[in-house]
């Protein structure tokens, strides 16, 4: 009787361990697939407005490695991260990187911040609800900032980052995805 009980228990342990291993495998596969080039395409038709009110479509930057950074003037970590993005745009724009700032903020506050921050890339915006909706569409469930999305030259989401990038990691990420030199 005891040996039957032991066999049954051992079988249950083996099944539980197998389930655990399967969960780990699936999660590992998913976590690594998030940064793979074969990730999902950027939703079609995304459009915001520049600070003069002109519409700008994200397709405009097809062929470039696009880094969209959602930020706001009331967001201290966003303001902290911007000098790094400015540096990146200077350093890699000739190699095919395009940084775009997507401001979740009052346009007047944004206009007042662009100069002092030395922002050297396009800054776009829309109504607060539209911006929050766009972030949600791009995978930002909590709706917090800063939030960045790296898009491949062929329009696929390569990476999402909620919170600041570590500068060295961001540089390495950009360098690893720059389009081939022509």
């Amino acid at each position: 009787m005891r040996s039957i009980l032991l066999i049954v228990a051992a079988a249950i342990v083996a099944v539980a361990a197998g389930i655990g291993a399967f969960y780990v495998y699936c999660a590992y596969r998913n976590s690594h697939a998030a940064g793979a080039p074969a990730a999902e395409p950027l939703p079609a038709g995304l459009e915001l407005r520049d600070l003069d009110g002109h519409p700008r479509r994200f397709e405009e930057w097809r062929g470039k490695l696009l880094l969209v950074n959602f930020w706001a003037t009331w967001c201290t970590p966003c303001m902290h991260e911007i000098p790094e993005l400015v540096k990146l745009q200077s350093q890699y724009s000739a190699k095919g990187l395009q940084v775009v700032g997507a401001a979740v903020d009052d346009p007047d506050a944004v206009r007042g911040a662009v100069g002092p921050l030395g922002i050297n890339y396009p800054v776009l915006t829309d109504s607060p609800d539209a911006m929050i909706g766009l972030m949600e569409k791009l995978g930002n469930g909590p709706g917090a900032l800063p939030f960045s999305v790296l898009v491949s030259p062929d329009g696929h989401v390569l990476e999402r980052q909620l919170g600041e990038f570590k500068p060295a990691e961001l540089t390495a990420l950009v360098e690893s995805h720059l389009p081939p030199a022509r």
């Binding site: 032991l6 009331w74 939030f147 999402r160 909620l162």
Partner: protein, 159 residues
């Protein structure tokens, strides 16, 4: 029988390991730190009338904070109702890289409001607030319309 008990314990441990492993990897597969939505991080509990004051309370989740200077209150109903400046508790003074020295609130927060002399008792408020997570992200300004709960059950009187 002892062996059977040991085997059952091992089975339990294995199940726990599988669940823990699932949780661990689910966190690593996300877009960053596990974060709450603004509604869960800054839970606006109620607006209660007690005598001649209105108490607005929040329950701020651990690891999150609200800025004192970004709290705003407006009476929206009945028309023509207006509020005096809010009475806010002293916050924790912090040195913010971009805000400078500023006050923030953690945990339970209660603001006390009074309506201006001659104004009707507010029945509905517009409450605005903005905060961040210690993990290094901030949430857009939140605005909510919330009804006043009269704890005394008395009819509103003009003050």
């Amino acid at each position: 029988m002892n062996r059977a008990a040991a085997a059952l314990c091992a089975m339990g441990a294995a199940l726990c390991c599988s669940v823990a492993a699932d949780g661990l990897w689910a966190k690593r597969a996300g877009t960053g730190p596990d974060l709450l939505t603004a509604d869960d991080a800054f839970r606006l509990e109620a607006v209660e009338r007690q005598g001649d004051s209105l108490n607005v309370s929040w329950n701020i989740a651990p690891g999150y904070y609200l800025y004192r200077k970004r709290l705003a209150f407006q009476a929206v109903q009945p028309a023509g109702t207006s509020l005096a400046p809010p009475l806010l508790p002293k916050g924790e003074l912090v040195q913010d890289e971009h805000e400078g020295q500023t006050e923030v609130y953690h945990g339970a927060l209660q603001a006390q409001l009074h309506w201006r002399a001659g104004s009707a008792v507010p029945q509905r408020l517009q409450v605005s607030y903005q905060g961040c997570a210690e993990a290094g992200v901030c949430y857009p300004p939140q605005t909510r319309l919330i009804d006043v709960i009269d704890l005394q059950g008395t009819a509103p009187d003009p003050k």
